[in-house]
Symmetry: C2
Amino acid sequence: MGPATLKDVARICGVSIATASRALNDKGEVNPETRKRVLAVAEELGYVPNSLAKGLWSGKTKIVGVLVTTIENPFYANVVSGIERVLSDYGYNILLSSSHEDPEREMEAVRVLLEQRVDGLVLAPVQSSPAVVEFLNKNRVPFVLVGRNIPDVDTNFVVCDDQLIGQMAAEHLIKKGHRKILFINSSGNHSARLRLQGYLNTMKKHGINVEDQWIREVRANETAKAILFKALDQGLEPTAIFCFCDHIAVEIVRGLYERGLKIPSDIAVLGVDNLGVTEITNPPLTTIDTQHNEMGMKTAEILLKVMENRSLDTSKVVLTPKLIERSSS
Amino acid sequence: MGPATLKDVARICGVSIATASRALNDKGEVNPETRKRVLAVAEELGYVPNSLAKGLWSGKTKIVGVLVTTIENPFYANVVSGIERVLSDYGYNILLSSSHEDPEREMEAVRVLLEQRVDGLVLAPVQSSPAVVEFLNKNRVPFVLVGRNIPDVDTNFVVCDDQLIGQMAAEHLIKKGHRKILFINSSGNHSARLRLQGYLNTMKKHGINVEDQWIREVRANETAKAILFKALDQGLEPTAIFCFCDHIAVEIVRGLYERGLKIPSDIAVLGVDNLGVTEITNPPLTTIDTQHNEMGMKTAEILLKVMENRSLDTSKVVLTPKLIERSSS
DNA sequence: TTCTCCTTTGCAAACGTTTCCGTTGTATTA
DNA sequence: TAATACAACGGAAACGTTTGCAAAGGAGAA
C-alpha cells in the first residue's frame, strides 16, 4: 500500500474526491468548515499530491531537462546553478543529464527527457549537427541552447562571443610578444570552430602564419595532457599555449609542471572561462571570462518566457567576453 | 494537439491500444507482421511514450532525487557525477535540488521531490535534526545520506571518517610544529561536529589547550574570508589554519593574499576533500582526500540495492580519508 | 463433424488527479 | 406560499498507459 491518496482523504472526511480536491487547492466553492477538516485529515495522513496524475491531467510537469556534457566541469556546474536559482523560484525542478560529449548519448538523453514530458529543455549541444535541434522542434519542446550554438539554425541560445574570444586571445598573446603559439582546442562543437576562426583571422591580420600542427583538438576520451605531451614530443617548442577552456588549461599547467617547464618564463598559458580556480592557481591564470553566471540565469529567463508565452520570435543572446589578465602570460 | 499517443498509433494501424502497447514493449503474444506495422507507424509519428502514464500505472518513475547544498561546490558536483554515472546505466534519471544550507528549503525540496514520486533519494542533509529523515522513513522512500551523517539514527549513509579527519589534521599540523592553529569549521552539520571532536581530542592528547576563539564557524550567508578577517582583526596570530573543506581553504588562501601573508612561510593552510583544484593552487594545497568519487558511486550502488531489493538491513559505509601532503603546510 | 488447443486480438479496469456540469438543500424575495 | 438564487457538494469524464481476462478464429485430432 503506497502513500495516501486523495481518495483516502476524501473517504475519511466523508466527502467526495472532488470536494477534497477543491479544498486542498482552494479552488471553487467549498464550506470553510469542510475545508478545514480536509486539510487536517490530509496533514494527519501525510498526504502528498501525486505530480504524475496532476501532470497527466494538465500536460505540465513543472520539470525542465538540463543536458550538459558533464557536471564535473565547473563551467557547467556554475551554469546549472544559475539556471536552478532562477527556475526554482518559479516552482520548476531540474532533471539533470550528461552527454559526455557523445552525440548518441545526447540523443538518447533527449529522448528520455521527452518521455518524462519535461516542460522545457536546456541543452549544451555536443556537436553542430542540427539533428537534435530538429528533433526538438518537431516535438515542439521549448528549449534554449546554452554555451554553444549551432550554425544556420534559428533557435534560442545564450552564448559568449566565441569569435571575439579567439580574437582577444590572439591579440593578447601577440602583444606579449608570442609568435609560436600552440592552440589546444576542443572539437566537434561550434564554439571551438568560431574561436579557431577568430584566432586564425587575427593571427593572419598580424601577418603570422599558423601551420596545422600548431592547432590541436581534444576529442572525447582523450586527455589534454596527452595531447600536450604528444605535441612536445613531436618537437614543437611553443612559447605560449592558448587553451579552449580553463578546464583544459588547468590540465596543461599540470602537464607543464611534470615536464619541468616554468610558467610564464618558459611558456605562457591562457585559458577561457574565468572559473574560480584560476584566481588561485600557480601562477594565477590569465583567462577570458565567459560570464557563466549570467549565462545560466539568462538562459533560465528565456526558457521561462518561451514556456509560458510561447513567444514565437527566438532570443539570441551573445554575451561579451572579458580578458582577465593575471600572471600566467 | 500534443505529441502522438498510443491511441493515435493504434488507430492508424487499425489495431487496439492493447495490441499496440504489446507490440512496442515486445510483451505478450503478437503477430510479427502486426508488430512490424506498429513499430513503423510509431516511428513515423515520432511517438514518444508518456512516462507519466507509465509511472502512474506502475508506481515507478525511474527518477531519483538528489538534494545537495549547492552544485557549485565541486565536492558535490563530483559526488553527483559519480551518482549519475552509476544510475544512468540502470535507466534512472536525476532530479537535482539544492538546499543552500537552509533547513526549510531542504524540507520543501524533499516534499517537492516526493510529489514527483521519485523512486529514491540521495540527500546531503543540512543539519543534524532528524526531522527530514523521519519524514522520509514515514513515507517509505528509499534513501541514502551522502557526505554527512545524522547521529543516533539508523539509516543508510556513505561518509568519510570525520573524526579521523580531525585527528589527522591535528597530528599533521602538530608534527609540523604548529601550536597556534585557527580552525575554520562549517556549522550545523554532524560532519563539522565530528571533525571538531577528533581535532580537539587529538590536540588535548598532545597537551595543547584550544580556546574557543580559535574555533570559528562559517554559517549560511557568511563568507569564510569575512570570518578570517574578523579573527585576524581581533588580534589572533595563527601559524596555521585548518579549513573544514577545500572550498573554504581556497577562499582563505585568497584572503591571506589580500592581507599580504605568505603561504606557508607566514601561515600554513590545510584543507579537506582533495578537489582537483588543490593540485594547482599557489602553493599546491595540502589536503585530506575524502574519496568523493568513490562516495558518489557507492551511494548510487546502495540506493539501487535498496530500491530494487527493499533490503531491510541498513548500509553504513565509512570511507577512510587520506592525507595528501603538498606545499601549503 | 465436433472437440480441443493455441495464437492473436480486443475490452475494460486501474493508476490519481482536475474540472465541467448537474443536483441538492437552504435562504431570500415577491 | 411559491419562485428564485446561490452556496455546497457529488458524479463522471478525461489524461495515456499496462495487463488480466475473455473472445475470436483457425488448425489439428478423434
